[in-house]
């Protein structure tokens, strides 16, 4: 276990009522890298992300044990939970444009945090929309409603919003479900660029995406951590674990 890791997860277990969603997993996510998380449906991938920014606390009926440490600090001990969440960008599978203008969508987080002038906001909005490969499509209609964009545009808007508060960590949960392959490729390029100074957690059920992007990959199955290793190892012919091998080579999943 590496104490220098950006995110350290220690014996994390989550139950929803009687159902065990995560069964005590431990992980290290190194800084400035893309860490891919793969696994079949209901393997606890999204729950893991919710634990990192503590939105799991807002989920009715969820009980959490174990620790998540960021920069060596236990997140459960952080009193300013909103500050914590602003250090982490979150993108969920289904696009959610807030019922605000495109501009206000992206400016939402900085505004809620306070301390931004109008000029700052303009800069942030343009930067984030460019990073999410959306700027060219919406630059002339920043005032129109975010919810009126197409599904793919809304998903890129969601990504732009997740970048708007300069997160140190970016979590993406199957971000490419609602967007077309070309846009997906563009965003993948953006992610590779962002990796230089951001830690990226990429939950995906497209194993090829994990293979393309991941520096390291972990494989979750039914709430248990099956294997974590460098991506080349996981996707090699001999990952060292039969279940992993079967999953990445499409035998089940």
């Amino acid at each position: 276990m590496n104490a220098d890791a950006k995110i350290q997860i220690r014996n994390l277990a989550v139950r929803y009522g009687r159902k065990e969603s995560l069964k005590g997993i431990s992980l290290d996510v190194p800084a400035n890298s893309i860490f891919a998380i793969i696994g079949p449906a209901n393997s606890g991938k999204s729950t893991l992300l919710k634990c990192i920014n503590r939105t799991i606390e807002l989920t009715p009926g969820a009980r959490v044990e174990g620790q998540v440490l960021i920069d060596g600090q236990d997140t459960a001990g952080i009193r300013d939970v909103y500050g914590l969440r602003r250090r982490i960008g979150m993108v969920f599978p289904l696009p959610v444009g807030l019922p605000l203008s495109v501009y206000d969508n992206v400016a939402y987080a900085p505004r809620m945090a306070g301390g931004c002038s109008r000029a700052d906001l303009d800069i942030i909005v343009e930067r984030c929309l460019r990073q999410a490969a959306l700027w060219d499509e919406v630059k002339d209609r920043l005032k129109s409603l975010g919810t009126m964009l197409s599904g793919g545009q809304q998903q890129r808007l969601t990504i732009a919003r997740a970048l708007s508060h300069d997160p140190e960590i970016l979590c993406l949960d199957e971000f490419s479900i609602a967007i077309d392959p070309v846009t997906t490729m563009r965003i993948e390029d953006v992610l590779l660029e962002l990796r230089k100074n951001m830690t990226i957690l990429l939950v995906t059920n497209l194993v090829q995406q994990a293979r393309r992007l991941g520096d390291a990959t972990c494989f979750l199955n039914k709430g248990e951590l099956v294997q974590v290793d460098r991506t080349e190892v996981i996707f090699s012919e001999r990952p060292g674990n039969q279940v992993t091998h079967d999953y990445v080579h499409g035998v089940f999943g």
């Binding site: 600090q73 009193r79 945090a113 002038s117 700052d120 300069d166 140190e168 951001m198």
Partner: protein, 350 residues
């Protein structure tokens, strides 16, 4: 971000002065945050508003308890001194102002409430449920919208206006049709209160019918059932708890109705001696629990305790009205609780 920066003592949202630490390249940093006072204000206002929200949530419970407490407080001396449980509930003599023999028996009032409620349900249940079925299953969108708006307006008419309608429209009508001596009687109040209860029955029953999954309808129609067969073979059984709840809430409404009853019943404390009740005596004038309170509270003086702490007999009239209030509170509480449990029961099943 360094740990000590994250360990800010307050949990307020506005504090981005530090920016997100070294990860951000220069030029991405934000300008300095608002002053500490502004931030403190933000934190305080957030906490204030959240505690206010919790407080208001609790207030509903507080109000229910204080309703019970304050009514009980006014009625307590009577419960302590002059109250005879058996006589109160089983005597038909309500003579609170009699100089010769004061008597507080509410049986006749309970019968009056029962008669009006029963007659009201005879009107409201078939018509209410029928209208709900028509709205939910048989009519087009436009008709439905129009009907719902009309039903809503029906619900909006104040009860005193209903009472007026009972006096000037329904009364003469009843006299002409039945040949009764007076138009202000149990039947009149029953019809009026029935009309008043229709909207609540319609809206709850319609919700219950719409809550029946469309799969059921589709499955039944695929088997060749007509709409009507779907309704009485599939919808009614599936929605029966919701329909029951609708009727119960209608009953609650009818029991509690005051002004319309006061104006339309004739408000005479009366119980037919031969016990053939209530349809054979629907044309008699009656009084109900609610109407009695409304008509007598204004005249019953609130008399304070004597120096020795006891109350003169005349004080009991005022106090006994509050005891009737307690009885009404308990009755409607029970009816509404049952309706709520019935509705919850349906939700559990799904």
């Amino acid at each position: 971000m360094k740990p000590e920066e994250a360990m800010r003592p307050d949990s307020q949202p506005a504090q981005d002065a530090s920016g997100p630490g070294g990860a951000a390249p220069p030029g991405r940093r934000r300008t300095a945050g608002r002053g500490p006072i502004r931030r403190l204000f933000h934190s305080l206002s957030e906490r204030t508003i959240v505690s206010l929200i919790y407080l208001c949530g609790i207030s509903a419970i507080v109000f229910v308890f204080s309703i019970f407490y304050f009514i009980f407080r006014e009625g307590a001396p009577f419960l302590r001194d002059g109250f005879d449980f058996q006589k109160f509930f089983f005597s038909i003599n309500w003579m609170p102002t009699s100089e010769v023999e004061r008597s507080y028996g509410i049986l006749a009032l309970i019968f009056g409430t029962g008669a009006v409620t029963l007659l009201a349900m005879v009107v409201a249940v078939p018509f209410g449920l029928g209208t709900a079925v028509f709205i939910a299953e048989f009519c087009g969108r436009r008709t439905r919208e129009a009907l719902k708006i009309l039903i809503e307006l029906l619900a909006a008419i104040p009860s005193v206006a209903w009472g007026f309608i009972g006096m000037v429209v329904m009364g003469p009508l009843i006299v002409r049709v039945t040949g009764a001596d007076v138009g202000a009687n149990a039947l009149n109040a029953g019809i009026i209160v029935g009309l008043m209860s229709v909207p609540i029955i319609v809206s709850i029953a319609e919700d219950a019918i719409r809550a029946v999954p469309d799969d059921y309808r589709a499955a039944a129609e695929a088997l060749g059932a007509t709409r009507w067969q779907v309704v009485y073979k599939v919808i009614f059984p599936a929605a029966k708890s919701g329909l029951l709840a609708a009727v119960l809430l209608g009953v609650g409404r009818a029991v509690g109705e005051t002004m319309a009853v006061l104006m339309a019943t004739g408000n005479a404390v009366n119980i037919p001696a031969d016990g053939r009740f209530p349809f054979f005596h629907a044309l008699d004038s009656v009084s109900t629990l609610t109407a009695t309170i409304a008509s007598e509270l204004g005249e019953a003086p609130r008399i304070g305790a004597l120096p020795d702490g006891s109350y003169p007999p005349a004080a009991h009239h005022y106090q006994s009205l509050f005891v009737i209030g307690i009885a009404l509170f308990v009755i409607t509480f029970a009816v509404n609780l049952t309706a709520d449990l019935v509705v919850k029961g349906i939700r559990k099943q799904r």
